[in-house]
């Protein structure tokens, strides 16, 4: 019989009397991770969280030197990269970690989809996850404008034009996003406020809900693992899974450092709103598939504007994805269902193909 009391030092005991660390420890030691063929996908939620924390920390550091006005933004980043010690490193890490976080997020999303983790009682977890996906993309879109260089200015102009095709609410939405009729310093300040205050506040709530629900329901077993006979293998979260998580996080950190060193973030040319757009303006890669889809849609289909149909199409696909727990009736009834897998794989293949086309097709076509 082990004497638990001697495992903890005086400080731990002092804090426990005031915070109740023992209860937290009991909960943590109880948490178990199922071990099966598809266990590897469990790591990607934590990876996304880790990269998000990196974003928050590097973002806070950037806040100390960045200035959100059209006349000073570019110069403040130039100052950051040339005069501030390791400013180039913090900026490159923030830029690359954003990309890696979105990769991890998509892997996490598609693995949860294909392993049917959205089934009851985890419908709310899936919905809050969908919300987090939208919030991450919003983070990426608003943050991209902040350096106020040529690429980001024109990408934002194209990107904020697209909601304008929606009927009734289109032009108001566009004006609301831009802070005016065109992309100006007002847009920059607005995006800055959204990026550093509004989105973090919303994410805190939604992420808190998401993590609470994950703790409450534990990790979902995919249908193939459920069909396994007894005994069902598990691994304790503390310390086994956590240490493995740490190994993954350190690998991510190493990759991040290498990317920051070999492909540092460029400063580019300062945005000049009165210049015509340079040829081949592209959005960031995570918007590329949607962007290329809109470019390839014919201008009118059955009398309706092509772009409008495209945007509505994205909305429909997004709705099916987010409402999957309710769309997949068969899985809800406990029966095997092929629809989510087919849907998910089709979506993955389509996105990869369109992203590839976006980078290879000639811009003047």
């Amino acid at each position: 019989m082990e004497n638990r009391g001697s495992e903890h030092g005086k400080l731990w005991l002092w804090l426990d009397e005031r915070i109740g660390l023992k209860d937290i420890e009991k909960l943590a030691k109880k948490k178990e991770i199922p071990v099966h063929r598809h266990s590897i996908w469990y790591y990607f939620g934590g990876m996304t969280l880790f990269l998000f924390i990196i974003q928050v920390l590097s973002g806070i550091l950037l806040l100390l030197y960045y200035r959100p006005s059209a006349t000073e933004a570019y110069e403040s980043i130039q100052f950051l990269m040339t005069e501030v010690q390791f400013g180039w490193l913090i900026r490159s890490i923030h830029a690359w970690s954003a990309n890696l976080m979105i990769v991890a997020m998509f892997i996490h999303l598609f693995s949860a989809l294909l392993l049917k983790a959205y089934r009851s009682p985890r419908e709310l977890t899936w919905l809050s996850g969908g919300g987090l996906m939208g919030l991450s993309l919003a983070f990426g879109f608003t943050g991209y404008l902040l350096p106020w260089n040529e690429l980001s200015f024109f990408a934002t102009r194209v990107g904020t034009e697209i909601p304008g095709v929606l009927p009734v609410i289109g032009s108001f939405t566009r004006r609301f996003l831009r802070g005016g009729n065109d992309v100006t310093g007002a847009t920059l300040t607005r995006f800055y406020g959204i990026h550093v205050a509004i989105l973090p506040a919303i994410v805190t709530i939604v992420l808190g809900l998401h993590l609470f629900l994950v703790q409450k329901h534990g990790m979902s077993r995919p249908p193939s693992a459920e069909r396994e006979g007894e005994p069902k293998r598990v691994m304790p979260f503390m310390p086994n899974f956590l240490l493995r998580d740490l190994v993954g996080w350190l690998c991510a950190l190493g990759v991040l450092a290498a990317l920051a060193a070999y492909y540092p973030a460029e400063l580019g040319k300062k945005a000049d709103p009165f210049q015509p757009a340079p040829i081949g303006i592209k959005p960031e890669w995570y918007f590329m598939a949607m962007f290329q889809t809109l470019k390839l849609i014919p201008s009118h289909i059955l009398g309706i504007e092509g772009e409008l149909l495209g945007v509505l199409g994205f909305g429909a696909v997004g709705a099916v994805l987010i409402l999957m727990p309710f769309v997949d009736r068969r899985a809800a009834a406990g029966k095997p269902s092929r629809f989510p897998a087919v849907f998910g794989i089709a979506l993955i293949l389509y996105s990869i193909l369109l992203t590839y086309l976006g980078y290879t097709m000639s811009p003047t076509k």
Binding site: Q78, P239, N240, L243, A257, A261, P264, E266, G268, K269
Partner: protein
Amino acid sequence: MIRAISRGFLWLGIAVILFLPVPAIGQQQVENCVACHQSLPDERLAGPAKLFSGDIHAVKGFGCVSCHGGDASDTEMSAMNPAKGYVGKPTGTKIVDVCGRCHSDARFMRQYNPSLRVDQVTEYYASVHGRRLKEQKDSKVATCANCHKAHSIKPPGDPRSSVHPLHVADTCGSCHANAEYMAPYKIPTDQLANYKKSVHWRMMANKGDLSAPTCNDCHGNHGAAPPGISWVGNVCGQCHAVNGELFSKSRHSQVFVQMGIPGCATCHDNHQILETSDELIGSREKAICTRCHTAEDRGGKSAAAMRAMIDSLRQEYDKAHSILLKAGHAGMEVSQPEFDLNEAKTALVKARAAIHAFSVVTLKKEIDPGLQVSAKAYAGGLKALEELGFRRKWLAVSAIIILALIVGLVLKIRQMESAQKSSEKEEV
């Protein structure tokens, strides 16, 4: 008593009206002439009457009678009485006399605009127009009324004036660009067209620089005449002082005088002065030097050498500029080399002016410092790009630490789990 006083006031009032000061009478003058003339069917008679109210002379209080003579108070045809000084429509030297009567009188002009010159008539009779009018009685030449459109004369500063800098060329061109009108004089009529292609005209019309030269700046306004061969350089050198001075000291200046060709205009044209480029010098086809020099003679060889030097400085400057741009866009601090590179730009501009000395030695003095500065700036750009690479090596250190930590963790996991397994086995 009251009736006497009021009658007194009545006569006082009549006397005041009768002896009103001159401008009032001037108003009277204009009103009388204009009243008839503006309703006449013949536009030659009605036109001036309608235009005159916008004329500077009308504004200052002068009337028709001031130039044409006659009786201002008469409202009938009898107003146009030679006995009362009426001269009708003056022509030829008469026009010069009418205008000069006031405009050459310093005391008179002082009342209206003390800064106006009063020697225009003297200048005019020194000009080609004046001399032909006086000596050959040539009635086709320009007089005061032709350039300063009579009856709608405005000061040169007024943008509507026919002698405002933007309109001078068209005013001169109204005769000089008219081939039919100028036929008897056997001089070219392409000056206006050529001038409109020039950089001087474009500076004025498109860039709004009113200090750029137009016809009167090189030819004089009232004393207009083409500059003589020997003093073209002096005229251009008024503004282009450095080039003019270098040229006058060069071997070309004496040679051109001997050949009887004008200095600057020989290479740069007189009216169609285009923007210069480095292509003007050298021994290849587009260069102006080839008009006289072949590639093998001494002049041609010098020209080729000078062109090569200018080209090399320009290329070195461009090379440094583009590497600094690349480093700057990558996010490196390159403001010091960029600042230094400004000196190379200055050297290039000075070199292009120094060409007018037509000496390889003189040119080299401007080119060499420029090449040095460009090389230094280029080295600064290279260093900045290298620093970009140096950061990678620092990251290698932290990568090794991360790798070591990963290895340690993996080993720890394996060790821990084998201990857990063996303790489980023991319990069984």
